[in-house]
């Protein structure tokens, strides 16, 4: 058990953040969770009674199951790609580049983050569509005419999402890698370990917290995303996030929308709960 002085310090450190979160997020979301158990919203003169129907619908409707599966798959693909692309970048930044150049490059990686996400998505449309930037560039290089049109496909969605979320992974991995003492790597090298060995046995395990943090910050929002899929995916761009939003935008069915959201949250938490010890053990 903690000493009294420690308990005081603990409270002092935790309380501000969690009190804020409680007032601004947890209480409102609790209200939403309560709505999920009602037949209708309990304001505006509407009658509401308790029911499990919303959750039953959320769990048994085949359309929702298909879309949830699609969203989870999308989350995994995007997260995996971000890890594969981002980790080497972070490694190069953390270990192979020094001084001012490193800081400048690091900030350059972060900068696209600050562009408006909606404008970014439409900008990707300009790049990816037929007669777009990519098509024109490929045709300029290639000796024979090629038709490159990636728009309205799952590829476009993945590209758009990887682009939006890659800086998360690069950043978290960079933080973890940069904290690894160079002396450790030197020691391993002097003991005769090749670069692949160092990577696999030393760097990845030590950078695991960064990889996991990045994975979480990417997987979780991507599973609930709907804007990028809709604009970049066109006809094939319907995902779980879409049906949640529909309950708030197309109809006035907040209870069902809330039930769907919390089912999503539950599924994501379960996946993370299963994955975390596995990753930690591998590390």
């Amino acid at each position: 058990m903690l000493a009294r002085a420690d308990r005081g310090r603990l409270a002092g450190l935790l309380a501000p953040a969690y009190l804020w979160l409680t007032a601004a997020v947890f209480l409102p979301l609790s209200a939403m969770l309560w709505f999920a158990f009602l037949t209708d919203v309990p304001f505006g003169g509407r009658e509401a009674s308790l029911t499990l129907d919303n959750f039953a619908r959320a769990l048994t409707n085949p359309t929702y199951r298909i879309l949830l599966g699609k969203s989870l798959e999308l989350g995994l693909i995007v997260t995996a790609l971000c890890a594969l692309i981002g980790f080497p970048c972070a490694l190069v930044l953390a270990k192979a580049i020094r001084g001012r150049a490193r800081e400048a490059l690091f900030l350059l990686v972060i900068l696209p983050f600050w562009s408006n996400s909606l404008v970014r998505i439409f900008s990707w449309a300009i790049v990816l569509r037929g007669n777009g930037v990519l098509d024109s560039a490929v045709n300029w290089i290639s000796p024979w005419p090629v038709d490159v049109n990636l728009m309205f496909s799952q590829s476009a969605i993945v590209i758009g999402l990887v682009h939006s979320y890659l800086p998360y992974m690069i950043l978290t991995c960079y933080l973890a890698l940069q904290g690894i003492d160079d002396a450790l790597i030197e020691a391993a090298r002097s003991l005769g370990a090749g670069p692949l060995r160092i990577l696999w046995r030393l760097l990845i395990p030590l950078a695991a917290p960064g990889l996991i943090a990045g994975a979480v910050l990417i997987f979780v929002p991507v599973v609930g995303s709907f804007m990028e899929p809709r604009i970049l995916g066109g006809r094939v761009g319907t995902y779980f996030g879409t049906v949640i939003e529909d309950q708030f935008i197309a109809v006035f069915n907040w209870p069902l929308g809330a039930a769907l959201s919390f089912c999503l949250l539950a599924v994501v938490l379960v996946i993370l709960a299963i994955a975390a010890p596995v990753l930690r053990r591998a590390a």
Binding site: F43, G44, G45, T63, I66, L67, K70, F122, A125, I126, R129, G130, N131, G132, M151, F152, R230, I231, G233, G234, R235, V236, G237, T238, T242, V243, D246, F248, I249, A250, V251, F252, N253
Partner: protein, 342 residues
């Protein structure tokens, strides 16, 4: 001229203090034009501040959760009864609106705007949801909805990502009454057959314009006012009202029950249906005006006069009526099922 009359009324009926009116509307839908607001302020002294919504459900939510925050709100006639039933609207006094007498009688008398017998929405604009085609692809605009299902245009078609609109569109295509759909299975089959033709859905005017400009589709459902706007901005599009008909909608201006500036609100509504405002707005891409005098004041060649002034066209239009929550959810489920299978 009318504005002076309005101004006089406003001065007589309200204290001499200038009010700040808050308007809730779609963005870029006429009421927030800088010159219009400036003219109103100059004439009456009242200032206008805007808030926007992106869906009718959102508009209703804003009304429910912000009492006293709005003085004039744009409500589609299919939603007026619902808002009134929830006690959100105040009855409107036509005597405070000088231009009211010039409104098209069929629109002013539309029962959806007067739930319970009293007037709750002043008809403001109306238009059609039909479709527009790229004139680069179509030398002659098509005359039938069947073009959407024509395999020659596979992957070059777009419809709006909206369950109600999709269902009503398919109802038109299957020859049904959009307000009384008896054969939902036929609608489902028709939409299922349409899906492979679609390259992407659009959900905002901006989507539509950018996709069309880039050639992502050649045929797309669209609203008449928006089509006028896009054509005015230079896109090579032609709006079509096919033989099967089109969906008509009527937008009304209403006053929330909790508004504290109702006199000024009436004055603003009067300005909005004034011909001086409408004639200047129309070339920028406005829908049709509910004010017959305003509509008559348009030049012969203007889009709204040419397309919507034609009685043969108007005869094919089916105006939207209120849709029950149950129907809305049924249509949404149908639409989501179809989208999920793509």
């Amino acid at each position: 001229m009318r504005l002076t009359l309005t101004c006089a009324l406003a001065l007589l009926t309200a204290p001499a203090l200038a009010d700040e009116i808050r308007m809730l509307n779609w963005q870029g839908y006429g009421t927030d034009l800088p010159w219009a607001v400036a003219a109103f302020t100059a004439a009456t002294g009242h200032t206008v501040v805007h808030d926007y919504f992106n869906s009718e459900q959102e508009m209703l939510t804003k009304l429910r959760t912000n009492p006293g925050a709005y003085d004039v709100v744009l409500i589609n006639s299919a939603f007026t009864a619902q808002a009134q039933a929830e006690g959100l609207l105040a009855p409107i006094d036509p005597t405070l609106i000088a231009n009211f007498a010039d409104l098209d009688p069929s629109l002013a008398g539309n029962p959806d705007l007067s739930p319970g017998g009293a007037l709750y929405g002043v008809p403001w604009t109306w238009g059609l949801t039909s479709f527009a085609v790229s004139t680069d692809v179509f030398a002659e605009p098509p005359t039938s909805l069947a073009v959407f299902w024509d395999p020659a245009y596979a992957g070059r078609v777009s419809i709006r990502d909206d369950a109600l609109e999709a269902v009503q569109f398919a109802a038109l295509a299957t020859g049904q009454n959009i307000n009384d759909i008896t054969d939902l299975d036929a609608v489902r089959a028709k939409l299922a057959a349409l899906m492979p033709q679609i390259s992407a859905y659009w959900s905002s005017e901006n989507d539509w314009n950018q996709f069309m400009a880039a050639g992502d589709f050649a045929i797309g459902t669209y609203w008449s006012g928006s089509a006028a706007r896009s054509a005015a901005a230079g896109l090579p599009v032609a709006f079509v009202v096919p033989d099967e008909g089109a969906i008509g909608w009527l937008d009304g201006l209403s006053i929330p029950a909790t508004s504290t500036h109702q006199a000024a609100a009436h004055a603003f509504i009067d300005w909005m249906i004034d011909p001086d405002f409408y004639v200047r707005w129309e070339p920028d891409g406005a829908p049709a005006s509910a004010n017959a005098a305003a509509a008559a004041a348009l030049p012969e060649t203007s889009f709204n006069r040419a397309v919507l002034g034609d009685p043969a066209v108007v005869a094919r239009v089916q105006f939207m009526q209120p849709v029950s929550d149950e129907d809305r959810e049924a249509y949404l489920a149908l639409w989501q099922d179809l989208k999920a299978q793509q």
